[in-house]
């Protein structure tokens, strides 16, 4: 995204009184959103005439083990008509990582959030179908968390008797 466009976005978000912290993912603009404002900012990004970030192509769940806010969600948004990309990031609580689901804004967030729930244990409120994506339903752990061992936990999936 070019600098003038980014400044336009910043001023528009400023005028709506959103509390946003701007950063950068190796050249692509990114912004940290306040957890309570996520839905409103996302709706703004999707619907605003001059930006139209109408497609969410990925969501990354991060475990920053050892930091104050351990978990983080990163959504990868693209605007097709302007050919722009932006990342939005949401810091989540260490003890109880949960946030409002963005399925109501972007339908594609459905599976991405299910994957984040499965792998990192992040709970998405008001998600229509929050099931595990890859692991079996009876699995109790979240494998991508840093405190989950690489080799797995023995007997975490019960096997049939010999």
């Amino acid at each position: 995204m070019k600098d003038d466009r980014l400044n336009l976005l910043k001023s528009k978000l400023q005028s709506s009184n959103f509390n946003i912290e701007y950063s950068d993912v190796n050249g692509t603009p990114a912004m940290y959103l306040n957890k309570d404002e996520v839905l409103n900012v996302c709706k703004f990004l999707r619907d605003d005439e001059s930006f139209r970030f109408i497609s969410c192509v990925d969501a990354v769940s991060v475990d920053r083990f050892g930091k104050k806010n351990r978990f983080e969600m990163i959504y990868n948004l693209i605007s097709i008509e302007n050919n722009e990309r932006i990342f939005i990031k949401i810091r989540l609580d260490s003890k109880k990582p949960e946030m409002e689901s963005l399925v109501s804004v972007w339908k594609s967030a459905n599976w991405y959030e299910r994957e984040a729930y499965d792998m990192m244990g992040i709970v998405f409120l008001n998600h229509p179908d929050l099931r595990r994506m890859y692991m079996p339903e009876e699995f109790e752990y979240y494998p991508l968390r840093k405190d989950f061992p690489l080799m797995g936990i023995p007997d975490s999936i019960p096997l049939p008797n010999k």
Partner: protein, 425 residues
């Protein structure tokens, strides 16, 4: 009528014996009917081991007669935890695992991964290396689209085009063999370049393939493109509106078949794609047939790109000259002290990118293939997220299948062209 004959016989001689099942056949209520069979929902479990699901995709389909009411895809049968594994691999060590993501076009994954690491460590590779990468990425696209085409056509009953597509695909695998020494699990790229230069003989072999391919494609298309059965099985099937396609985060041929001209090769150019001339085929019908045509026309564009690359590719260095990041040549490792030290450090401790995050994506055959790295400055990534196109595209399967016939599910899966190695990660 035998029935009356038997009855008459029985009237004449009641002791005559017939088996009970034949007696049952001739009683009045022999018509075994299911009450309101068409009003009852039936749950059909398709896969994970099913030849038409292109891998270990499992679908739970609820049916009303032959019409699909709802479809729930179930993933994870090929989940190997690559994102977890990446956190304990150095950046170089993970390259062979990328072969196993989209195993139908391993070269494209190698290129995508190497580009992502290079973006993270801010490394630019020489022009020859970039051209080599474009060549192998386009060969991978042809390889993948040929299988997608062949398998989709086979799903609706035409076997010959599949065999012809596999024949062409086999030639590409042979090309890989001369380029990098492996047909299937190539692991050809390295951080900062490729494993070895492409020899003149290999270039000549690629040129022969490119020259012959167009004619072979015409031959193959003659069987399919105006085939009445194929068109009637595909036209209007698996329709998904443009808004839904965008909202569901589709990329690649599926998105281009619904009228959105988005291709990362042009929109976020990487390598030398901005110096090459190619079109982006787009259709608006958004059905299985349009997806097929998009793929076929992309084959032609890929051949165009390959021809330009073979003409333009310069001589010279193919690996970046950054001794602390790029693996040195083996013969120098064995004879020079400095190179031995660098080789040891890179292999054992990794390339140590700066602390930060980076996202880089390429247009793979199925869509946007991206890698999101989070680095803490050590030799291993802190987190690697693979944005796999098949995973996103499969999300559109359920809405595409709504209200279609059970026989169409197979061609819809074929038109989405998922690869489970990539979707399950």
């Amino acid at each position: 009528m035998p029935q009356t004959v038997y009855k008459d016989l029985k009237e004449q001689d009641p002791t005559i014996k017939r088996s009970k099942i034949l007696d049952a056949l001739e009683t009045e209520d022999l018509s075994v009917t299911f009450p309101d069979s068409l009003d009852n929902e039936m749950i059909l479990n398709m896969g994970p081991q099913h030849p038409a699901t292109h891998g270990v995709l499992r679908l739970l389909i609820s049916l009303d007669g032959e019409t699909v009411i709802k479809c729930v895809p179930e993933l994870g049968y090929l989940h190997r935890g690559y994102e977890k594994l990446a956190e304990s691999c150095t950046y170089h060590e993970f390259i062979p695992h990328t072969d196993r993501l989209d195993y139908l076009s391993p070269m494209a994954n190698n290129v995508a991964y190497a580009l992502a690491v290079e973006k993270l460590i801010h490394l630019e590779i020489p022009e020859r290396g970039q051209y080599i990468r474009v060549i192998i990425a386009e060969l991978a696209r042809i390889q993948s689209h040929l299988l997608a085409m062949g398998a989709m056509v086979m799903d609706v009953g035409a076997l010959t085009p599949f065999l012809w597509a596999i024949r062409e695909r086999e030639k590409i695998l042979d090309l890989y063999d001369v380029i990098c020494g492996a047909r299937f699990t190539t692991s050809y790229t390295r951080v900062g370049g490729v494993a070895q230069d492409v020899s003149d003989e290999s270039m000549a072999a690629i040129k022969i393939f490119v020259d012959e391919f167009s004619a072979n494609l015409v031959e193959m298309r003659a069987l399919i493109d105006r085939n009445k059965i194929f068109i009637e099985r595909c036209e209007g099937i698996g329709y998904l509106s443009k808004d839904d396609c965008i909202a569901l985060g589709l990329t690649g041929p599926l998105l281009r078949a619904c009228g959105v001209s988005r291709d990362l090769r042009r929109d976020e150019p990487y390598l030398v794609y901005d110096k090459l001339d190619f079109n982006i085929p787009t259709y608006t019908e958004s059905d299985c047939l349009a997806r097929y045509y998009v793929r076929v026309e992309e084959l032609i564009e890929s051949i165009k790109i390959l021809k330009q690359c073979l003409e333009k590719i310069p001589k010279g260095q193919y690996n970046a000259l950054q001794t602390k990041k790029v693996l040195p040549k083996k013969e120098r490792v064995y004879t020079k002290m400095e190179e031995l030290i660098h080789d040891f450090m890179i292999i054992n401790f990794g390339v140590n990118p700066p602390v930060g995050e980076s996202y880089s994506a390429i247009e793979a055959s199925k869509g946007e293939l991206g890698f999101y790295f989070i680095s803490d400055g050590s030799g291993h990534p802190w987190r690697l997220k693979i944005r796999s196109p098949s995973f996103s595209n499969l999300q559109a399967l359920a809405p595409m299948m709504k209200d279609c016939m059970i026989s169409d599910t197979v061609v819809i899966i074929g038109s989405v062209d998922p690869v489970m190695g990539e979707a399950d990660k």
